[in-house]
Subunit: 258 residues, 2 copies
């Protein structure tokens, strides 16, 4: 094999190599504040952050201590950053099968005082009740959910402020332009539950109007009725359940209404 010969001559150290490769995760959840029985919930999009502890696991002073940060950690040689994110998320929250998506790389020289460390950033969507089982580990003194407004007011470690801005931008456009909203919802949901999810990131009147949205959901090719299935979660009158099918759509901005 000709690659073998070439490898003999290849010196892996002719370039300076990074000092580390980390995987960070912006964990989003939507908290549902029930406004009463037989009412649709009020939903708020929140981001989970951990407070970096004063001492690390070996009892040494911790870097960027007492600031809020995205959960994450070093990627191992045997895994991808995506797999590392899944592993770390399970260590942190004991949740498997979360929706996870890469959204950016952060590699600005000097972004981490420990050296040339590249961060591969992902966002995750975790249902609220799965986060209640979360627990702080050695490196994380505290875990807390922040609304997008609260985020503006706190001190963040490293360049996590930049990463978080990008994460919010990405989850916002994905919620509106893809079917990820399904990761926030039960398999079968009502039109008003879907609507509440979307309203956490938009105030588009065509989505905010009950009549328009209830009429529209019936015609969306990527959503279908669950025939004969209803629930009374959101109203006294039993209401139709819907589910996403596996269709993915891309709609041009050039054919939309303005």
């Amino acid at each position: 094999m000709t690659n073998k010969d070439a490898l003999k001559h290849y010196d892996v150290n002719q370039y300076r190599t990074p000092d580390g490769y980390t995987s960070d995760i912006a964990v989003f959840t939507i908290t549902s504040e029930k406004t009463g029985v037989y009412k649709p919930p009020e939903m708020t999009l929140k981001l989970m952050l951990i407070k970096r502890s004063v001492k690390d696991a070996e009892d040494n002073p911790n870097i960027e201590a007492e600031k809020w940060a995205l959960p994450g950690g070093f990627v191992e040689t045997s895994e991808t950053a995506f797999e590392a994110a899944r592993r770390e998320l399970e260590e942190e929250t004991s949740v498997k099968d979360v929706h996870l998506k890469h959204f950016g790389v952060y590699d600005r020289p000097g972004r981490d005082p420990r050296g040339w460390i590249i961060s591969n950033a992902h966002y995750a969507i975790v249902p609220e009740h799965d986060l209640t089982a979360r627990k702080a580990n050695d490196d994380a003194a505290e875990v807390k959910l922040f609304s997008l407004d609260e985020l503006k007011t706190i001190a963040l470690a490293f360049d996590h402020d930049t990463i978080i801005i990008d994460a919010i931008k990405m989850i916002t456009s994905d919620l509106l332009q893809t079917t990820v909203a399904k990761a926030f919802l039960p398999k079968a949901f009502t039109y008003s539950e879907l609507q509440a999810v979307l309203l956490t990131v938009t105030n588009d009147p065509a989505i905010a109007s009950h009549q328009s949205f209830a009429r529209k959901i019936k015609t969306l090719p990527f959503i279908q009725e669950v025939k004969g299935q209803t629930t009374s979660r959101t109203s006294k009158k039993p209401t139709q359940l819907y589910q996403f099918n596996d269709m993915e759509v891309v709609k041009p901005i050039y054919t939309a209404r303005y």
Copy 2:
């Protein structure tokens, strides 16, 4: 400063570090085949690839020789992968100010036989005439533009087949869902030129129909008429020129028509 104390205890070598960090670029262009004078052009989306030479710059056997590959190279400590992409693209094609966007990271263990090498992938949009000035460098025996159909038939280096599939997916959805189309067009363009760009990645009837698209372009909030400016590039009758303004829009799939 408390970070200083923490750094004394931080051992940069406690984790295995990557053997390299590269920046790869999927360079897209649209070739305009003029179908005649005073006619709108036929456009085709193409990807520029380089053929890896048998020997490298030091006259040693080259890795993945004679396969087609994305241009790219190692990121230096003093720069981001994005800056490296810009630098390499200028070295390769002598073009500055190209539209450039990150779209993925490739870090599967074993993807590169030289070691643990992480690729940060970008796509670039370069006007066709800027690519004519391109020249092969030491590492690149040959440079060629491939249509999306031709790409399926050739041997690609490393995991560049996967990277290219993702690049095409990304530029397709960006062309339709953002205003990047402007990077393929002159500052002022006709409705049929914009239409031709979009038709390289979609066959949506609302875009393909001349009447519908010509009527629609007047109502798009992110495009405006260049008052009183016309051209005869595409027809004998002088036709109105348009330009993108700086508005960015996000249109939900939930309010589109199906």
